[in-house]
Amino acid sequence: MTPTPNPGPDFGPGLAEVFGPQQQDGGPELVQLLTPEGERRHHDDFDLDFSAEQLRGFYRDMVLVRRLDTEATALQRHGELGIWAQLLGQEAAQIGCGRALRPQDYVFPTYREHGVAWCKGVDPLDLLGLFRGVDHGRWDPRENNFHLYTIVIGAQALHATGYAMGVQRDGAVGTGDPERDTAVVAHFGDGASSQGDVNEAFIFAASYQAPVVFFCQNNQWAISEPIERQSRIPLYQRALGFGFPGVRVDGNDVLATYAVAQAALQRAREGSGPTLVEAYTYRMGAHTTTDDPTRYRVDDDVEHWKLKDPIARLEVYLRRNGLIDDDFQATLKQEADDLGHRLREGCKALPDPAPSAMFDHVYAEETPELRAQREGYAAYLGSFEEAGR
């Protein structure tokens, strides 16, 4: 039988057509405090007075995590890392959210939240150690309140919800004590929003009014699939159906992201329940270093988003208002170079784990069967030494 070429059904208009051309740029609901051109905007619901120190801090954070990302990508290309998930383009979303956290707030990341890890004080070298395959537990999540990375899409939304329910049970919500009241953040992507896990986490969190912020970085892509395949309404609007508020913020605007994240975190800490924050951004790089995005997306989109670069717009604002000068930039550049150097050298010096490490951490109490396998393997390796090899 010769196939009759069948174009297939029309899946309907894209988001831009449904919600007007503006939707492509986030739509009218987008919370923005700093335009791509570096103009400061006012917002009725979410606005803050940022100190010069704070603004310079955001800028420094973004420059340094971009450098971390560039270095890690290069290290992967040189065979020093197994894989790397780039955050390029998502710096503002991550730093804005990360800097709004209090020390006691607990974060459940995906595999891309290097910027949030940075804000939580995780040593970037430990991130590299993970992607080099040296050790799965290079940082202590209890020390930084930053959980270990999750690979299975959406799973951490459930863990965050359960953790938040635990926080609630411990009475660390709504006490009015700023050092005690705790929020939990679940990070995930636009693709993950299709998973049952994420939607079921929404239901539980709403049902128990759990102190969790669902922070979705909508970077428009899930590997090769555009957002239109995941959602036919702006993602933040989904929250309404689950019974809690949703906000869409310009994820390339660190000020707006900070302001919105802070409000959502505060809501959680006060005991008012979950919020969905959709940080509207763009994955400027490949999905990971194993991906080739030219297979599925056009350069025009990338060019369009280049004009909204999160770092460039803040730089324009800071320069224009005389908040940074050449000295500041030179010092920051030096700091970035030092970081790059430390990461390159540090990464290459990370040792391979001991052979028997592969038997570790399977159980809290090792079974006799596994112990026998471990011992058999040790004896096997030992036979090489005996033979003088």
Partner: protein, 354 residues
């Protein structure tokens, strides 16, 4: 005959099945852009490179939202309406997301609906073990699904088998799970130009021998052949059998071989406990006990999680030296100095996104 890679053979089988029967459709994550390499061309040159989306249209090949449970469940529903879906689940480690749909629905529906539901659906997934992709990408879950009545389990090890078995899977009225080994993606072999299919439940004797039977599964097959070549130089004659499908299993071929050689080694990249190797060993112990001259030996992966570290992972799976040692053991040779455990150094690296 023409030479094809394992991955190319899978793509060819899908294309032929799509061309032969309009009811065959493909759904999965990232299939439209051919991210995993079995659905045609890519990028600008799509049309002339045989891109499936161009050839068959979005009625027949579709990207799905990222929800494995729905992908599997919807394919079951589509199959019950008479379509013959091929579901691309990319990583075998993500089959678990859809466990209820596999075990309670796909496997049981024919029974639960009194024989009135037919489920001609194929679930393809790739096992990324041996490629340093970490514990959440490296599963070899076929034994788990062997334990579920109602599912047929396919584990091809060569381009020829990958193509012929996939075609049978599409043409079968039962739900079939095929487990493809990514370390074999680039391996090349002769494949007939014309359409063909390989019946389920027929093992392939990869190499004939008289002293020891090695039943090898998936990527352990080429390793077993390499071991057999080495052992031949030492004067040990090894027969290598590839069952090709684990459900149904060609018990007769295995028992017949062991009754001639008297010795059995099973090489299986799955975890040791309740592996396919465990089942095959039990069958031989029950049905060919009288022929056995030595205890059966399993060469499997220890019951550990799969390390991300390249240094650790390459030691884990059945390779030529582990298999060689096991054969020497059952032939009564003292294994004094095992060869270096690095038979999988040449493992193919892959560019598939994760």
């Amino acid at each position: 005959m023409t030479v094809m890679s394992y991955l190319g053979a899978i793509g060819a089988a899908q294309r032929e099945a799509m061309e032969a029967d309009e009811r065959v459709v493909i759904i999965g994550e990232d299939v439209e852009a051919n991210v995993y390499g079995t659905t045609g061309g890519s990028g600008k040159s799509r049309a002339d490179k045989g891109d499936f989306l161009q050839m068959f249209g979005s009625n027949r090949i579709r990207n799905t939202p990222i929800s494995e449970e729905v992908i599997v469940g919807a394919a079951i529903g589509a199959a019950m309406t008479g379509l013959r879906p091929i579901v691309d689940l990319s990583y075998s480690s993500f089959l678990y997301m859809a466990m209820d749909q596999f075990v309670n629905q796909a496997a049981k529906n024919r029974y639960m609906f009194g024989g009135q539901a037919s489920l001609p659906v194929v679930f393809r997934s790739a096992m990324f073990y041996g490629l340093n992709t970490g514990a959440h990408h490296s599963d070899r879950p076929y034994p788990m699904f062997m334990n579920v009545p109602g599912l047929k389990i396919v584990v091809p090890s060569s381009p020829y088998d990958a193509k012929g078995l996939l075609r049978t899977a599409v043409d079968t009225d039962d739900p079939v799970l095929t487990f493809e080994a990514c370390t074999l993606w680039g391996s090349k072999g002769e494949v007939p130009e014309e359409e063909y299919s390989i019946p389920f439940g027929q093992a392939r004797t990869v190499r004939e021998g008289t002293d020891v039977t090695v039943v090898a599964i998936s990527s352990a097959v080429p390793e077993a052949v390499a071991a057999a070549e080495q052992l031949a130089e030492e004067g040990i004659s090894v027969e290598v059998i590839d069952p090709r499908t684990l459900v149904p299993l060609d018990t007769a071929a295995i028992v017949e071989s062991v009754s001639r050689t008297g010795r059995l080694v099973v090489a299986d990249p799955a975890h040791r406990t309740c592996s396919a190797a465990a089942e095959i060993s039990a069958i031989v112990a029950e049905e060919a006990f009288g022929s056995l001259l030595a205890p059966i030996v399993r060469v499997t992966t220890p019951d550990t999680q799969i390390p991300f570290s390249p240094a650790l992972e390459k030691q884990l799976y059945p390779n030529r030296s582990y298999i060689g040692d096991a054969v020497r053991r059952v032939t009564g040779e003292r294994v004094s100095v095992p060869p270096t455990p690095e038979g999988v150094d040449d493992a193919l690296s892959t560019q598939a996104p994760r």
